[in-house]
Amino acid sequence: MDKRILIIDDASLVRLYYRDALQRAGYSVDEAMNGLEALEKLLVTPADLLLVDINMPKMDGLTFLKSLRRQPMPLAATPAIVVSTEAAPQDVEAARRAGGNFYLVKPLTQDTLTRYVGLCCGIKS
Amino acid sequence: MTVRLDIDGAIVLEGVCPVEDAEPLQRLLLQHREAAVDWRACDAAHTAVLQVLLVAKPSIKGPARATFLQDFILPALARHESLTATEESLPLGDGGR
């Protein structure tokens, strides 16, 4: 399968956890520790889906998303799922404002993760 | 009396036949092997009674007063007969089964 997921989170445990689930489901996976690193990587290699954490040093998730959506097409149209510990309506709205396509609340089971990633990539595993 | 032998030699089921009727019905059918069962005045029959009919397979004098018996149970009785008949006709020890 040729779908590529980029995990953007500063916690190595989280990145490991998601990578484990997604690789086993057949996706190719790359990681970035913050928004800045993510943008640098995306300018070189596009991704089919992003998993974006909110709280990161150097460039947080919302700032990253706003910046992403201002890039030239087709990079700007990269689908992005925000994964965050906060679940309040205002946080969901802020993510939407910034340009996030969907919102999942941590902690995320591997099962839920693969299910939503599958839906968003159009891949049934 | 909900189950009785009448003068003509038929076993009559009359009215609502409760579970207790199963035993007298069985006895009558054993004593009078050729008797027909007349259910023209029968409004309902407990499963136990129907069970006896299924095993004894007597000829039935109808139509039953109860449409349920006539429309649903009579065909089930008739079909049931042919089912057991078919099984009896299969040779025992048929490896093909």
Partner: protein, 738 residues
């Protein structure tokens, strides 16, 4: 909510209930003209109500239903199982809309597509053009094939197939299997199949049931399930796929959620990055549709996306998406589960607890979170083995603990929430009942309910049903005066009975109030004196309130005649003990000539626990089942003395033995010199055994925590009231052991 809507809600609900009953009656007697008229009138009136409050969708649906009924009345169409199902479905939809009205305080906003779909049910439509997706076909089991070969029309008709295998001894439990099946709606075929080969007639045991009954009916899964719920554990039912109608898979809830979010995203007035948002929303949406097998729709959406990107606007992409979403929710509503297999009859009781889907979803999410926490802990332990620093471990552990703590709290909260049901479930049948009871007695009364939405533990709701009925009966029978009498005393001809429920802290307060004649305290005094309840001077000295309390004395009835509505006596003693068993109280207030109010105060939730009852020192106690390992009849020669204490060995374990009556300070009374009745308990990794006089039943009780006099005594976990009025003390074994 304005007055009109309030009235609409009340009347609407009553009409729906009435129409449902009438419809079911019509199904039983399709040729009954009067029933048909009743049903028609019901729908007609409901439609009228919808018109008044301008609820267009409801009007449309009911109008279509009315048209179909008109066709039946004129003889063009007949009453079929399918028509009844469709009509019931529309009534159910109306009921749901009414619920939504109550919740949201405004009329539901029904998408055009949803109303249209409902209307379409009542019109003969050609089968839907097949989508490019797989047909859902269920494999028919052998027994179903058998039925269909007897009744080939079943292949096109669809309906429900039933297989009922009663237990061999069912006749002894007053079960008539064929009769049960005979009552199913729209019966089409029956088969009687022996489980074991028949013996010859003389060897047949006529009272052992050797039959499996299979049947085809035109009813719905719901109807059949309801009809057979009493024997649910022995029944298998399966909906049949009629050859002509099938649907593509519905959009899953996750898919719907994602698509709805994309719609919100593109509708959001964004400052910059519009192309990016639109483009990403489009990509995700088309992916989701392809995942669900809606390939054609995905194409359509892609067209809309391309156009929108070119124009730099959300439309037409958003429009297509909106359309697809409403279709998606229709499909989801139209799909029925294709197989219901009852495993145990207690599962039916569980099913009867209608739980909102959101509560279940919340629990599913929680279960997921707990799994994650568990996995993370496993990870931490691996890190520890690999030699991570204590500080790292400590931080990670602390995080996981916080997570687990939150999860457990949420779990407890959610579970409690699930047991809560609105009082409406109890109130539902009462208005009609009151009217009928009154009419039967030649009186005129109506019931007004308040607080039907008050949420209460299901166990409490179930337990309140009987007592409330009792009290309502009393109100109509004894409290309310005949119409003439009311008119003569200047009261309204129609009496009113109020049924109110409200939450008051940890309690629920339920009241039944009437504007009748009140309790005749003078008469009560006379009867009490005549029955010798107390000495004449004591009775004379009692206050009005004290006299009123006398209605709780068993058998005391001041009714001049015992009507068949109430039966013997007032029954308030039974009501009081039922409420006391719940841990609640009953109060009565009355004003002569003006009315009576009966008030129940019950806890809004109860702790149910299982106890093993036992007798010790001549008294009955309970111990929680969760600590009981087993009960044994121990030969006394196996008891050893260990210093001042006793013990015995069981399966290589030495277990200390305590004499319970002795431990509780009660007289020791060995009933059997050779054997001791012993219960072995376990707690905190230790075993302890207690000798008792004898054992009783396992009970499920509502445990009331100790207060008052008992709270000072050690070793008592709580109390409950047994059916015979005795108090059962439940012991706290760990406390006793210390």
């Amino acid at each position: 909510m304005n007055e009109f809507l309030k009235q609409f809600l009340i009347e609407g609900r009553e009409l729906v209930e009435q129409a449902t009953e009438d419809l079911l009656a019509l199904e039983e007697a399709p040729d009954n003209r009067a029933e048909l008229d009743n049903v028609f009138r019901g729908f007609h009136t409901l439609k009228g109500l919808a018109g008044i409050v301008e609820f267009a969708a409801m009007s449309r649906v009911l109008h279509a239903a009315e048209d179909r009924l008109a066709a039946v009345r004129s003889g063009e169409r007949s009453v079929t199982g399918e028509l009844v199902t469709d009509l019931l479905f529309s009534l159910d939809q109306v009921a749901q809309w009414l619920d939504e009205l109550e919740r949201e305080d405004r009329l539901p906003m029904v998408p055009d597509a949803a109303a249209a779909a409902l209307v379409a049910r009542f019109q003969t439509t050609a089968p839907e053009t097949p989508a490019t997706t797989a047909m859902v076909r269920t494999e028919q089991a052998d027994w179903i094939e058998g039925l269909l070969s007897d009744h080939p029309q079943g292949r096109e008709q669809g309906g429900v197939a039933v297989r009922y295998r009663p237990e061999p001894d069912c006749f002894f439990r007053h079960i008539d299997p064929v009769a049960l099946i005979a009552q199913l709606p729209d019966l089409r075929a029956i088969r009687l199949v022996p489980n074991d080969p028949w013996p010859p007639l003389q060897e047949l045991d006529p009272f052992a049931c050797n039959l499996t009954v299979t049947a085809l009916t035109g009813g719905t899964l719901g109807q059949v399930a309801d009809q057979l719920h009493g024997v649910a554990g022995r029944v298998e039912i399966q909906a049949l796929d009629p050859a002509r109608s099938w649907r593509p898979t519905a959009l899953s809830p996750e898919a719907m959620a994602i698509l709805e979010e994309q719609l919100l995203l593109v509708s959001d007035p964004a400052e910059e990055g519009f192309d990016g948002r639109l483009g990403s929303a489009g990509r995700i949406s088309t992916n989701v549709l392809r995942y669900m097998g809606w390939a054609a729709e995905a194409q359509k959406l892609q067209h809309g996306l391309d156009k929108s990107l070119a124009l730099g606007r959300a439309e037409p992409f958003a429009g297509v998406l909106r359309q697809l979403l409403s279709r998606g929710s229709d499909e989801a509503a139209a799909i029925e589960p294709d197989k219901l297999s009852f495993l145990r009859s207690d599962e039916i009781a569980v099913r009867a607890l209608r739980v909102e889907v959101e509560r279940i979803d919340a629990l599913v999410r929680l279960a997921g979170e707990l799994t994650v926490a568990k996995n993370a802990l496993g990870h931490v332990s691996r890190l520890a083995k690999e030699g991570a620093t204590p500080e790292t471990i400590a931080t990670l552990l602390s995080d996981q603990y916080a997570l687990l703590d939150r999860c457990v709290q949420q779990l407890q909260h959610s579970l409690l929430g699930i047991r809560l049901v609105p009082m409406r479930h109890v109130f539902r049948r009462f208005p009609k009942l009151v009217r009928e009871m009154a009419a039967h007695l030649g009186k005129s009364a109506r019931l007004v309910t308040e607080g039907a939405a008050t949420e209460v533990d299901k166990a409490v709701v179930d337990a309140l049903s009987e007592p409330l009925l009792h009290v309502l009966r009393n109100a109509v029978d004894h409290g309310i005066e005949p119409t003439m009498q009311r008119a003569a005393s200047g009261k309204s001809a129609v009496a009113t009975v109020w049924l109110r429920a409200a939450r008051d802290g940890e309690q629920i307060v339920v009241e039944v109030e009437d504007d009748g004649a009140g309790i005749d305290t003078a008469e009560l005094r006379r009867v009490a004196e005549a029955r010798g309840i107390a000495a004449a001077d004591e009775i004379a000295a009692m206050t009005q309130d004290e006299i009123t309390e006398l209605i709780f004395v068993p058998g005391l009835s001041t009714a001049a005649s015992v009507s068949d509505v109430s039966g013997r006596g007032v029954g308030m003693d039974a009501v009081r003990s039922a409420i006391a068993r719940l841990g609640g109280q009953v109060e009565v207030e009355t004003r002569p000539g003006a009315g009576t109010r009966v008030r129940f105060r019950v806890p809004f939730t109860v702790l149910m626990s299982q106890v093993l009852t036992l007798e010790a020192g001549g008294q009955v106690f309970g111990i929680p089942m969760e600590i009981v390992v087993e009960t044994v009849r121990l030969p006394r020669d196996r008891i050893m003395r260990v210093g001042a204490a006793e013990a015995f060995v069981l399966r290589n374990r030495t277990i200390p033995l305590i004499n319970l009556p002795h431990a509780l300070g009660l007289a020791r009374d060995p009933l059997d010199d050779s054997y001791a009745q012993v219960v072995i308990t376990a707690g905190a990794g230790q075993f302890a055994a207690f000798e008792v006089d004898r054992f009783g039943d396992h009970l499920e009780i509502m445990l009331k925590p100790v207060d008052g006099l008992l709270s000072g005594l050690p070793g008592i976990a709580g109390t409950t009231l047994l059916g015979d009025g005795r108090v059962l003390i439940v012991l706290d074994i760990p406390e006793l052991l210390n």
